[in-house]
Symmetry: C2
Subunit: 220 residues, 2 copies
């Protein structure tokens, strides 16, 4: 029984890789850099995007919003006057917990690839499956809030291992939490040694200038 | 393509329901009340269990711990001298993002059902798929941290709609967040009108006595 399930899963992942490569070809042909932004629910992906995308100079940005249901985040980002495309995953059964390459592919006709240099794909809030499904991105960025505790890299290692940048968000809460930042960073290094990390607060803006510059470099 | 995916998913869910009923029969035969405890990563499930299970009087409690990898939470709870059984979901591909009825069934031989009155199943931290898979529980409890923002009921409605109790955790952080508790409660009522809710802080202990009494009543 269990072996069968693993085979099915690998088949799904193989098919996903094929479609992810097609997406990647399209992105490259249009000269678009693609970031897959991931986190647990409520870690602050949208707020950190609002901070960074307010001013990316000449870089033209588009956003692909993944949510189980609704357009709350897309509505927030639309006020930045960017092209925002919503993917809702709930037409599946109770709702898919991640974006896969085919969902992104289905949405691409709605994304003006000729008019953007940088496409940010905001994934469904979840620390497990989004890490398993490439969507054709150039790099993965994850947000981890200090309110989530220090143990998350050890409990969700694939997510932390496959990203290029970890945004440690909500650091304005540090004085009010029993949170050992050094322990978190040791746990992070245990699963992904020396991965780039930034301490940020979407609420106060602390550290978000480095994140904005990271996106500028990525798009360049 | 999409229709095919839905059919596959429904087949998986039908099979899950069959096994969940078998689990339920076993639980009933042994007179065990079963709680499925769910939340986003880092919302405080384990900390709230530590608070409540410290003293449940004559009620004998067991815990089934679901994690992608590791035994961090099981180790914490074992210090309460309860029977704790770990399920790791990572033998799947990158790791399953939820417990299903079959995973729980596979672990049942390790759970001393004759020696417990209440079994708490701590699910994998995720707001999507755990809500889709019954494991044979009597009721579902979810934890939602105020650090996650007010919009979670609208973005993950199935989870909020199928639980009997919502523990709104980390209320000690309220003075330090831009969080509108009334808005959260309105969003909660929009997807699950009048669902029982408790405002708690695992850190300070505020409100956790009501949660302990809820578990006592559930086990009675």
């Amino acid at each position: 029984m269990h072996r069968t399930r693993v085979k099915v899963s690998e088949g799904v992942l193989d098919a996903n890789e094929t479609i992810a490569r097609d997406n990647r070809d399209d992105f490259e042909r249009h000269g678009v850099t693609v970031i897959n932004l991931m986190s647990a629910p409520g870690a602050g992906k949208t707020s950190l995007l609002e901070r960074a995308l307010e001013d990316l100079g000449d870089v033209r940005v588009g956003v692909l919003e993944g949510d189980v249901q609704g357009t709350l985040d897309a509505d927030r980002l639309a006020s930045l006057h960017l092209p925002v495309t919503q993917i809702n995953t709930d037409p599946g059964f109770g709702g898919e917990c991640h974006l896969d390459a085919n969902m992104v592919r289905s949405a691409l006709p709605e994304v003006p690839l000729d008019e953007v240099d940088l496409l940010v794909i905001e994934n469904v809030g979840n620390l497990v499956c989004p890490a398993e499904f490439s969507v054709g991105e150039d790099s993965r960025v994850m947000v981890c809030s200090v309110a989530e505790g220090e143990d998350k890299p050890l409990k969700y290692p694939l997510m932390f291992r496959t990203c290029s940048l970890v945004l440690v968000n909500k650091i304005d809460l540090l004085p009010h939490l029993d949170y050992d930042l050094d322990l978190f960073l040791r746990n992070l290094d245990a699963v992904h040694p020396d991965v780039e990390r930034m301490l940020v607060s979407a609420r106060t803006g602390e550290g978000t200038e480095a994140w904005r510059k990271w996106l500028l470099r990525a798009a360049g």
